[in-house]
């Protein structure tokens, strides 16, 4: 105990000494981000503010315009469904990975990470080959005589959610798996030795201890879905409008940058709020 207490200040000292050097090292990156990201971001924010006596007119137009609200609502809805799908698929996957031997864990982990190396565009297009009207699944269904006409898997909300879930699943599984690995297995052994059933152990110990990591991962997936562009554009068939596609229209086709800036501001604030929630849960889960 005394050893531990004396170790803490020493650790702080070391950190205190290291700080200036670290600051120096991050300066180029910080300047780079400030110049190339933060300043344009501020400029973008200034676009959203109108001139004269009505500085909030673009935001007011957003609130009045049912189109923008509906698209924003639709985006949040898709993000929620994607998050749910990721949880339903991701939690059992992470749990299964946790239960494997270390060697097999590495193998499955490599397979999960592998998906990061394939471009989102390729992964999105491959769904057309799999789920399209003349795709593999529909051909098999027709061949087996289960359906006569093709099942419309794509070019609707279902198609978009399949695509986004596919791309974002690793973002949930990896942190969740890491949290599971950190879990003290002795707790589970203690429960077992006290005669708890497997179900009790899972629901009363394992699940409650990993829920914060699941929540943090879910918020991450949710935030990432909010800004998705390629997947809804390809798998939505222009019928599943999301906010990023709306922005593309406003910036490149209209070009109505003030409205686009106002929408971006709303999106940025929303994202920051969710990110704050993510940080809060992450911190909680670490204790």
């Amino acid at each position: 105990m005394t050893e531990l207490a004396s170790a803490i200040p020493r650790d702080n000292e070391r950190r205190g000494l290291r700080l200036p050097g670290g600051l120096l090292q991050v300066t180029p990156a910080a300047v780079f981000i400030l110049l190339l990201f933060n300043i344009p971001l501020l400029l973008m924010l200034s676009w959203s503010v109108g001139t004269g006596d009505e500085p909030l007119k673009y935001f007011a137009a957003l609130a009045r315009g049912s189109v923008y609200m509906k698209v924003l609502g639709n985006t949040i809805y898709i993000a929620l469904l994607t998050t749910l799908a990721c949880c339903i698929l991701g939690y059992p996957l992470a749990y299964w990975m946790w239960s494997l031997s270390p060697r097999r864990q590495m193998l499955v982990l490599a397979l999960v990470v592998l998906t990061f190396w394939i471009s989102i565009l390729v992964r999105t297009y491959s769904w057309i080959v799999v789920l399209g009207n003349d795709g593999v699944v529909n051909r098999v269904l027709r061949w087996l005589g289960i359906t006569e006409t093709s099942v419309p898997f794509l070019y609707n909300q279902f198609g978009v959610i399949v695509g986004t879930t596919n791309v974002l699943l690793p973002f949930l599984v990896l942190p969740l798996f890491a949290a599971m690995l950190k879990l003290d297995r002795r707790l589970l052994q203690a429960a077992e030795s006290m005669g708890a059933s497997q179900a009790t152990i899972f629901f009363r110990i394992f699940l409650p201890l990993t829920i914060p990591a699941l929540a943090a991962g879910s918020i991450l997936v949710f935030i990432l879905t909010l800004g998705f562009f390629i997947t809804p554009a390809i798998l939505g068939g222009g019928r599943v409008p999301m906010i990023a596609n709306m922005l593309d229209l406003l910036i490149n086709r209209m070009p109505r940058w003030e409205t686009a800036a106002a929408i971006s501001t709303v999106l940025l604030v929303l994202t920051l709020l969710f990110y704050a929630a993510y940080q809060w849960i992450e911190k909680k889960s670490r204790i």
Partner: protein, 343 residues
Amino acid sequence: MKTILQNSLRSFAAGLLLISASSFTAEAEVKELRMIEAGGLSGDSIEKGYIEPFTAKTGIKVTRESPAGLGKLRAMVEAKNLTADVVELSSAELEQAKALGLLDKLDWDAIKPDPIFPEAKMDEGLGWQYYSTILAWREDAKPISTWAEFWDVEKFPGKRTLPDYPAYILPMALIADGVKPQDLYPLDLDRAFAKLDQIKEHVSVWWQAGAQPPQLLKDNEVQYAVSWSGRVTDAEGIDYTFNQGQLDLTYFAVPKGIDPERKAAVMKLMHEITVAKNQAAAAQVVSYTGPSEGLDPLLPKDRLDTYPTVAKNKSVQFLMDPKWWYDHADEVEQRWQEFKLGL
């Protein structure tokens, strides 16, 4: 001592002048032009038809970049940092760009154009390529010939793909509803959207890229499509008709604030675009056609049916009205989004 200093200062100043003068002449001599165009085969046709003869004559290279878009033009003009000397715009975009003050006037005296159609000769734009929005279908689907039939999903069953651009589908909806092409404008928006409601549930994709309709037809995702003509007239397994097609043209324009020397070079490039022989060469690459009045005899006989402006095809189509589309852009876009969202 004083004179030495004065002399050296003087020679230094002279040196500076010389350097600046030489850099000025280096700038004045245009070696390369940059162009933003729509890309695809249409871009290849610019290379073959117009850039090759232009570079052969003047020694100036032209670098192409795609895709085009009003957003890019606005960004570069407002940032006062022109990254292109000539940009491609659709007819409605040209009106918008004019209104936003993004364009320089063309110098038609310097272009010295060969005879071209009047709608191709605007103060701010040279209409360089005609294209049509037409009906296309899979060869194994029942052939159709009018917009009324396209709307008739009972007699002509199958999925449809329609453009996600109101300007390329609202006029068709009205014609399908019985409006005569010459009575289209001003467009009756209520009637057009009501007609679109009838077909909405049979539309599997609202396409945004011209490459989508032929691909969707080939993949058997849809059986009937509204497509830009050049994308389907030479495609295998796809039938089409120019009947009741909408004829439109895209323009080349010059961004505001362009360097005069570079503008002069662009005017020379634009002259090449008005030459019928060059247009015929471009039409070999993609079946769109240039603005020359006497182009028909120069086009390849066996592909004559595929060109939007040959007399036989031009006579069964109608022209779009960019001025009307510009005047109503906001209203139409708002209603278009509402329609797609089912509001």
